[in-house]
């Protein structure tokens, strides 16, 4: 019967309750869980054992590549493709190219930060089963949710429901797939 639902979701009133619930659910061995909050609750991602070392490196890499590309492009235009003598300055007057190279470093890094954040988060996403939960609209306003997904190996409808209700949530809901 587990294929009939995405998971079980418990609703909490405060971030502290959610944090405590996440810790207990993880201690019980559940791994395919996620917590939803209307703001970045401190310590919540750590409680879910979340690590993301890749994004900053990708940002650095994109920034560096973009800056180098901008510099080389200017060098190519000014020294090879269209050399122009301006006041006797050398064709490769590299100090004057650094500014645009800097702008492109920032541009490349900022684009990578934005796109990378979305890509790792798998956004934009037009459909997600979690929105089937009736009260989930409150997750962006004033409620805190914890979802144990049915794909978790430990998931058993009755046992999991009982476990969640021991955490004293406001409500527990079946989430349709």
């Amino acid at each position: 019967m587990t294929a009939e639902r995405y998971g079980l979701m418990a609703e909490f009133e405060t971030p502290e309750q959610l944090l405590e619930a996440v810790r207990r659910v993880r201690a019980a061995g559940y791994r395919r869980i996620d917590a939803y909050a209307p703001f970045a609750v401190e310590g919540l991602a750590e409680a879910l054992d979340f690590r993301e070392p890749r994004l900053p490196f990708i940002i650095l890499l994109c920034g560096a590549l973009s800056g180098m590309a901008a510099f080389l492009f200017q060098y190519y235009i000014a020294a090879i493709e269209f050399p122009l003598n301006v006041g006797g300055r050398p064709h490769n007057s590299w100090p004057t190219f650094t500014l645009i190279a800097f702008e492109f470093t920032v541009l490349g890094a900022a684009l990578a930060a934005f796109a990378g954040m979305l890509a790792f988060n798998r956004l934009p996403l037009p459909y997600h089963p979690i929105f089937n939960a009736g009260n989930f609209g409150q997750a962006s306003q004033d409620r805190f949710f914890l979802c144990v997904e049915a794909s978790d190996p430990l998931f058993e409808t009755q046992a999991t429901r009982q476990f969640l209700s021991d955490l004293h949530p406001l409500s527990i809901e079946d989430v349709a797939p």
Binding site: S93, L99, L107
Partner: protein, 459 residues
């Protein structure tokens, strides 16, 4: 008034003013801020939007006439080739610089009071920087060729000149506008999700749903989001400094006496922060009164902004002093003559009034009473904005009018078209702000929720 923070004897109580009024819950924060967007606007909004739109019509008329007739309709001449256009450009880009700087710098330094003002400070940046970007196009003799600045393979076989500050300028401003929009939008994604979930009409749900990109507030998403936002903020700060430095280079790489100076870049960056903070104070005071944001914007914000305004004013005062000192110290006759002319020439009234606005008036902010009086701060901030406009006007017009060749010295007399574009752009800015206040949450809800929880915990 309840928020005056004064005791019965009229003395000011030296207690810290809270960043948020106490008693804010997640539900009340969400309701108060999103209702401003999701409920139909009142009559005041319509009147304001209508009046500012009329100014936009005037701007469109003035710009159309400019495109038909050319820049000769302005007061510029063969000596003073830059007039109101470049003055406006530098003024707007200065204002445009501050929003992202304020938002990013205060984020990096973990200033709690940033939370309520950053969204509209960033909006101010994007609108002002976009308006600024129009002026260099308007002031071209052949504005339809502005795209020649882009390096693209063309049939003429020519490429742009990357040694020119004008090229740097274009790349700096376009990068800046783009990164500012990314920063602004990233900050808004969770708020769009809130609007999507609260909107009643199908249309609003659809629009905000698309803008929210499917955001569902997952803890893992939040963690990546915070990391990316922090990095964007850290990238934005040096970018801002580079943008206004480049505007400074536009002047200082020339040979005009008074422009050819290494002080220009730092002087322009501080000037931008100074005028931008003044504009933020103006907007904060007006928006707080118009939308009754007293719970989120308290005297704490005004106090902190007034202190930064005061700091900016001191640095500006130092820069004005250094400008005079260096002109005397470097022994260049033309440099010194430029200063004498500034202080006693045909534009000297503006110079002294500029010093009054930018250096003398902000000194009032030493007083706690002034920092806690919103009406006074509003008046100071408007004077600073006028002063900063005059500063750029003097840099452009006074310097160009009195160059090396005495026979070529001329004055600048603005025409009605100069004023039409000056006022029209101001109206355009205000109209954009009315639209912003109508369709986008003015205060970042998710950040205020977090701040409220943090303050609650701190107790």
């Amino acid at each position: 008034m309840a928020d005056r923070n004064a005791d019965k004897a009229g003395r000011f109580v030296h207690e810290p003013v809270p960043v948020l009024l106490p008693g804010q819950t997640d539900a009340s924060i969400t309701r108060d801020i999103s209702d401003l967007v999701l409920t139909p606007p009142g009559r005041g909004w319509w009147i304001g939007f209508l009046l500012s739109s009329l100014t936009v019509l005037m701007l469109l008329g003035a710009v159309s006439y400019l495109f038909m007739q050319g820049v000769g309709i302005w007061g510029i001449n063969t000596t003073v080739v830059w007039g109101f256009d470049i003055t406006n450009y530098v003024w707007w880009i200065g204002i445009g610089n501050a929003g992202t700087l304020i938002s990013a710098m205060l984020y990096l330094t973990r200033q709690q009071w940033r939370t309520s003002i950053n969204r509209f400070a960033e909006a101010m940046t994007i609108f002002a920087a976009s308006i600024a970007g129009l002026f260099p196009i308007l002031h071209l003799g052949r504005p339809y060729t502005f795209y020649w600045l882009f390096p693209y393979p063309n049939i003429m076989g020519v490429w742009p000149q990357f040694r020119s500050p004008l090229m740097w300028d274009m790349f700096a401003i376009l990068t800046y506008i783009f990164v500012s929009i990314l920063f602004w939008y990233t900050g808004m994604i969770p708020d769009f999700a809130t609007l999507r979930d609260r909107a009643q009409s199908r249309f609003a749900q659809l629009i905000y749903g698309v803008l929210a990109l499917g955001w569902r507030g997952s803890a893992v998403h939040w963690a990546r989001y915070e990391r990316a936002y922090l990095i964007l903020a850290a990238l934005a700060v040096p970018l801002v400094v580079s943008v206004h430095s480049v505007v400074g280079y536009d002047f200082s790489i020339s040979v005009m006496p008074g422009w050819r100076s290494t002080i220009f870049s730092p002087y322009f960056v501080v000037g931008a922060m100074f005028s931008g903070f003044a504009m933020v104070i103006t907007l904060t005071a007006l928006l707080r009164a118009a939308f009754k944001l007293h719970a989120f914007i308290t005297l704490h914000h005004f106090d902190a902004m007034a202190k930064i305004l005061l700091t900016g004013s001191l640095i500006m005062g130092f820069s004005y002093g250094m400008e005079v000192f260096m002109a005397w110290y470097d022994g260049e006759a033309y440099d010194w003559q430029g200063i004498v002319n500034l202080m006693s020439g045909p534009y000297s009234t503006y110079y002294w009034f500029m010093l009054f606005c930018n250096v003398a008036v902000p000194q009032l902010c030493w007083s706690r009473r002034v920092r806690h009086s919103i009406a006074t701060l509003l008046a100071i901030s408007i004077l600073v904005n006028i002063g900063m406009w005059l500063e750029r006007y003097l840099i452009v017009v006074n310097t160009l009018g009195f160059g090396f060749l005495p026979s070529q010295r001329r004055l600048f007399f603005p025409t009605i078209w100069d004023f039409a574009i000056l006022l029209g752009m101001l109206g355009f800015f205000i109209a954009l702000f009315f639209l912003f206040a109508r369709f986008v949450p003015m205060i970042p809800m998710h950040e205020v929720r977090r701040l409220a929880h943090r303050l609650e915990k701190g107790k």
